[in-house]
Subunit: 370 residues, 2 copies
């Protein structure tokens, strides 16, 4: 058996990042040659609780927009000019306010029509997930502030993290963002918002719906200001049924170390490199988290518990051992099924075909895409 | 004659700023003793054009609000938490979007009811003002962007700068404000907006109207998030009839240097120290600008033309000469009328009585106000 490791940050300075590196390493005879890779494992997410290990078989995608409004060549003084110009902030805030409501409902037409229906099997699957609503409130930081989540039951909460789209308003570039009181009328402001997307949503269709909505809301304003909507980047949602040898090996490793079957979970976040690796290597990926739900990824006081760290070393070691017991390639039937599924995905995937190198970026101008 | 000069920046480090300095210097026998000061002149604004000198007899006030919304103790990741919490940005943007429309109309009830009616005399006064709409578009920076102002005629434009209130959205603190795409759900965001106020508006009443409006809009959201509206600072509008010896001296000085009568103008901005000086010194102030309309105050490439600089030196010298020809105090009748007018202003001015030291700040905790 031959183990090949890729770490975040391995891409060279000035490169187009991990997608480009992966694409380059997929060349015949290279590090990620399709013929050399049989199984992929990423450890980059978290358990849903603090005690029960998980295997993750789904991720949401993300489509990120910049909504730019300009009213002048230069910032203005609200005393001197206030009352004279159509202010860019007024328009931007009105359009941003039309995208989503305070109950988290996306107000853009046709978005929910694209979401895969819930099956009985899926509904049942939430029962095996370790998830405590009260602990989750603490993880989200709403305890002592609102003590309230958008949804009440554990099933509803998980579904709205994993299998429904959401829209978040992240902020505004170009306006006054400091402490205190400044009386500026900003000349150009850029609203930032993004949508987490799920099966069977497609960035192409999402973009179309968002453009239609923004154009309609803009028309209502009757503003002479200059508006531009840019889709800055996009990634597809990822979903795999966990009944394949890779997930089975990860499950056996979990039982060997923790003495229990893992939960099968999905993630609300996006790890776009997953699909890029799968395509380049022609193999299925398992997401094999080792950290607990309260580790606070990318946040203040991020941590990993010593027990998770030690068990993580053991469980990934056992996983390698389990993988070593498998045939070099999955059996012919599984391989054929996976190839067919991948072909179907690609044929439905106009968007990804538009860029083979920068899979996470739309409208790429790389040589492969021209 | 005794000249006493005050420059911006003269206040000591750690002090409460110019209002406190002026108040302190107003003590009997001190620099701004009521008995020592007969006339006040401030040169801190601009002509309305590039050729005709102005005397300014009105300023708008400003009431500045911070609208704070909190949904969590910490910033969140839109993948991990998106779909679980009532997001603060959604609520904030919706309330900010309800304050003013794209045509500059303030959408808060009872605001326009407080505005002094337009008299025939006032309407006529706009004719003597040097003001070119096309040059103003360039000054505002809308040329080549929208080429459009909120109002069409010079009279309408001036009225909406000088004698009608306006509301500007300045920005948001606590949200993502950088270049690029960050998928944060901000935990606490503070929207900044302010209203330029005019005679006969009062910060107390403005605050009451804004609070009522924000509370009503907030209730519509049915959000569990924590909302707080803070009036950060406020200043009154200032207006004087220019038929008094101080303005007459400034007018004579203008004729001596420029050979023409000055325009009588108002300003859209606020110089709150004006009223503080008048109260402390018991005298009327004239605003005597020397710079042209395109000087670009506080903006990129701020300048002063050499001719304005040289004539400015002459005209302020002549003004001092003209003032020196006046009696040490305005005549008894004018003085009595001014005292009565000032007493009337103060009796109607609940807000200013709440703080004698920091006249520009509401809810002061200084010794004088406790």
């Amino acid at each position: 058996m031959n183990l090949r490791f890729l770490f975040e940050g391995m891409e060279e300075a000035g490169s187009k990042g991990l997608p480009e590196l992966v694409q380059r390493l997929g060349a015949p005879g290279s590090f990620l040659d399709k013929n050399a890779i049989d199984y992929i494992c990423i450890s980059d997410n978290y358990w849903t609780g603090k005690t029960k290990p998980c295997l993750t078989h789904g991720l949401r995608g993300n489509v990120y927009f910049h909504l730019e409004v300009a009213c002048s060549r230069k910032d203005m003084h609200s005393g001197v000019i206030g009352g004279s110009v159509h202010e860019a902030m007024t328009d931007l805030v009105r359009v941003m306010g039309s995208l989503v409501d305070s109950q988290g409902k996306i107000c853009i037409q046709y978005i929910y029509d694209q979401v895969a229906p819930v099956t009985d099997k899926e509904r049942e699957s939430y029962n095996q997930v370790e998830f405590d609503v009260e602990s989750y409130k603490v993880d989200a930081g709403v305890d002592g502030v609102t003590d309230t989540l958008l949804h009440k039951t554990r099933e509803e909460i998980l579904m709205h993290r994993w299998r429904y789209p959401t829209l978040s308003l992240h902020g505004i570039q170009g306006a006054f963002d400091g402490v205190g009181s400044k009386t500026v009328i900003p000349a150009k402001v850029i609203g930032k918002f993004s949508m987490r997307i799920v099966p069977n949503m497609h960035p192409d269709m999402v973009e179309k719906c968002v453009r239609k909505h923004v154009a309609e809301e803009w028309a209502k304003l009757k503003s002479p200001n200059k508006m531009q909507l840019i889709m800055d980047k996009a990634s597809m949602a990822w979903y795999r049924e966990p009944n394949n040898p890779n997930f089975e090996a990860a499950s056996k490793a979990t039982v060997r170390v923790h003495g229990i079957e893992p939960c099968y979970t999905r993630e609300g976040g996006s790890i776009p490199i997953t699909e890029a690796l799968e395509d380049v290597c022609g193999a299925v990926c398992v997401h094999f988290p080792i950290g607990a739900s309260d580790d606070g990824a990318h946040s203040q006081n991020e941590k990993i518990d010593i027990s998770n760290y030690m068990n993580g070393i053991c469980v990934l070691g056992c996983y390698i051992d389990e993988i070593a017991r498998l045939p070099a390639k999955p059996n012919a039937a599984a391989q054929a099924a996976e190839a067919a599924a991948m072909a179907a995905r690609m044929s439905n995937n106009k968007w990804r075909r538009r860029c083979k190198v920068q899979l996470t970026r739309f409208g790429c101008d790389c040589l492969d895409c021209q």
